[in-house]
């Protein structure tokens, strides 16, 4: 099952992400965002990774998804942290908690791709269709 696919958009990057559960959907969204940001050249040992915990509350699933992505984007753009692995993730209506392992960006191990300025609200949507979750997200690049 594909986790995400990019959709045509003139100026920015639009993506549709999928998951069998909210946990999978949020995982797919994080992977899609980092696929826009960086490409991995070489693996680094896990021992050098930094663990970050994320806890968010929001009234809608859309806002919760944006809050989760915003947090990861902040770590990337302010601290140069690249998502390596989602260690734990719990998502339900209204709140989420997660623990992620992040690597420090360096040009030997990673290639920087697009800079994402923000996760926008434009067309942002989380839907459950026949017991599968999907979301549309537009990144401003």
């Amino acid at each position: 099952m594909k986790r995400f696919e990019f959709i045509e958009h003139t100026a920015d990057v639009a993506v549709r992400v999928y998951g069998g559960s909210l946990k999978e959907l949020f995982t797919s969204a994080a992977l899609a965002m980092f696929a826009v940001l960086v490409a991995k050249k070489k693996n680094k040992p896990e021992a050098s990774l930094t663990e970050i915990s994320v806890e968010k509350k929001a009234e809608s699933l859309e806002d919760l998804l944006k809050a989760w992505l915003d947090e990861l984007l902040f770590h990337y753009s302010a601290k140069g942290h690249v998502l390596r692995r989602i260690k734990a993730l719990n998502v339900e209506e209204g709140q989420m908690q997660g623990a992620v392992l992040m690597d420090c960006f360096d040009p030997e191990h990673y290639e920087a791709k697009n800079e994402i300025k923000a996760v926008t609200y434009h067309g942002l949507k989380v839907e459950n269709i026949r017991n599968r979750w999907r979301a549309y997200i537009l990144f401003d690049v």
């Binding site: 045509e8 697009n114 923000a118």
Partner: protein, 486 residues
């Protein structure tokens, strides 16, 4: 994009098309798009025109929801969108009408050097610029600013750099708003925004940001060109960058606040990205105070970048930048909201003018212009694409009358990034540029492909429309010689 936009576009004249306010319940004014028949075809290929209609929902909007000929699909506002709201009549400010890259803009630096003098040293020059100007994702600035400096930058803009020796007072004179908007409040900027902007002063960024060495190849108006200090065969440098991570975060923080304002002030807009609040509300005031800080950060950033450019020229040509004649022609913002006075239905009104991918184009005699440009109107700098050309235009009285003193900002995207990736080959593009004598250095090949000339409209077509419509006039055309990309 296979589906064409099917909404109404009524011809006003050869350069203007109306989306009547009857198109959608909730539109307060008409939409007006500046375009010719050729550009109009491209415009129908995405949802930009629908976004022009959506902007017409904003409370207090006056005149029309405008779009420049480089219009393309954005989020909330279209890129190339212009909207002015009447502050005394409940006019709103919308962070989406400015965009994430607050005060993304362009500056043009002229030189005394000729094409023939630069050509033999072009590769050294471009390599020097590429190594001196931090670009690409995660780049840290060569300019060191402490936390205390950051607060000063938000208040004083480019004057901070000048105080540090990264420029001269005359540079400020030649910058829109003299490089700093009044009314910035560093306290209105979140800690996260500071953190995202930290150490990014004097960095270019990625995406469509660039630094280009250009040759002036054609002059359309000798008299104005002389006032602007440009002549055919001369080399100039164009810098395109913005407020970096700080501005992105200010916008994002503000949209979250403004979403709550939609309920609080009973505002109905068709897209959450159009979230807004009355200009004179606490939320509107706070956004403007933070936005001005981010705008000032951007002016300082471009001032620092120009300092780096001048330093590289000094090393390569072994003389001072003053002797090389590297004066600033002008610096313009193209993502900004400003409080300005304009005539609406014959009466002077205080408006909040949003320019989202649009450039201020004040005409002759406007009191905000430096005295040097009082008779010509302000210089308007229009970057094209890395393979073709860029333009230098001048602001006009017609722009003051029709578009709140605004014109286009660039070529405007034509192809999506996906489509560019499918259709552009990096090696082939590199060779094509080389054949044209253009030296390119970039941090990311992916960015180069996405920013390929074929991904953009021909800036000639865009400039032709604004020139014919009279909302700016052609002064000079430049072509790229050396390109630095993030």
């Amino acid at each position: 994009m296979s589906d064409l936009w099917q909404g109404p576009l009524e011809k006003i004249d050869d350069h203007r098309w109306r989306i009547p306010k009857s198109y959608k319940a909730g539109m307060r004014v008409d939409g007006v798009i500046y375009a010719d028949e050729k550009l109009l075809k491209d415009i129908r290929h995405d949802k930009a025109a629908e976004q022009v209609a959506n902007v017409a929902f904003l409370p207090g909007i006056v005149g029309a929801s405008l779009a420049m000929p480089d219009i393309h699909w954005g989020y909330g506002f279209p890129i190339g969108g212009v909207a002015a709201t009447d502050i005394e009549r409940g006019g709103v400010v919308s962070p989406g009408g400015v965009g994430f890259d607050i005060n993304c803009g362009v500056r043009l630096v002229r030189t005394h050097l000729t094409l023939a003098e630069v050509r033999p040293k072009l590769k050294t020059l471009v390599a020097g610029l590429f190594s001196a100007i931090p670009s690409g994702v995660g780049a840290h600035g060569a300019i060191k600013a402490t936390a205390k400096d950051e607060a000063e930058i938000l208040l004083k803009g480019a004057a901070w750099a000048v105080r540090k020796g990264y420029g001269v007072a005359e540079d400020l004179e030649m910058t829109e708003d003299r490089g700093a908007m009044e009314g910035a409040d560093p306290e209105a900027v979140s800690d996260r925004a500071y953190e995202r902007g930290k150490a990014q002063s004097g960095t270019l960024g990625s995406g469509n940001h660039f630094c280009e060495v250009q040759a002036v190849e054609e002059i359309y108006d000798e008299e104005t060109a002389e006032v602007f200090g440009v002549r055919a065969g001369q080399v100039a440098v164009m810098v395109h960058s913005g407020s970096r991570g700080l501005g992105y975060q200010v916008c994002d923080d503000s949209i979250q606040t403004m979403l709550k304002c939609l309920t609080k002030y009973d505002i109905h807009v068709p897209d959450r990205q159009l979230a807004c609040a009355p200009v004179d509300s606490p939320e509107g005031g706070r956004y403007l105070a933070a936005m001005r800080g981010a705008a000032n950060y951007a002016w300082n950033n471009r001032q620092c970048l120009m300092h780096l450019v001048r330093s590289v020229f000094e090393r390569v040509f072994e003389t001072s930048w003053q002797k090389l004649g590297m004066s600033l022609v002008y610096d313009v913002a193209h993502n900004i909201a400003k409080i300005e006075d304009h005539a609406v239905e014959g009466r002077k009104r205080r408006l909040c003018v949003h320019r989202k991918g649009a450039t201020r184009a004040f005409g002759p005699g406007h009191p905000d212009l430096p005295s040097k440009y009082a008779k010509t109107g302000q210089p308007v700098i229009i970057p094209g694409d890395m393979g073709r050309y860029s333009y230098l235009l001048a602001g006009t009285t017609t722009a003051m009358e029709q578009t709140f003193g605004t014109t286009c900002h660039g070529a405007g995207r034509l192809k999506s990034r996906q489509e560019a990736k499918r259709t552009v080959d990096y090696q082939k593009l590199f060779k094509e540029l080389e054949a044209k004598g253009i030296v390119l250095m970039a941090s990311s090949r992916a960015t180069v492909v996405e920013e390929a000339p074929s991904a953009y409209k021909d800036v000639n077509d865009v400039v032709e429309v604004v020139h014919r419509a009279g909302i700016a006039r052609r002064v000079a055309r430049m072509r790229p010689m050396g390109v630095i990309k993030g």
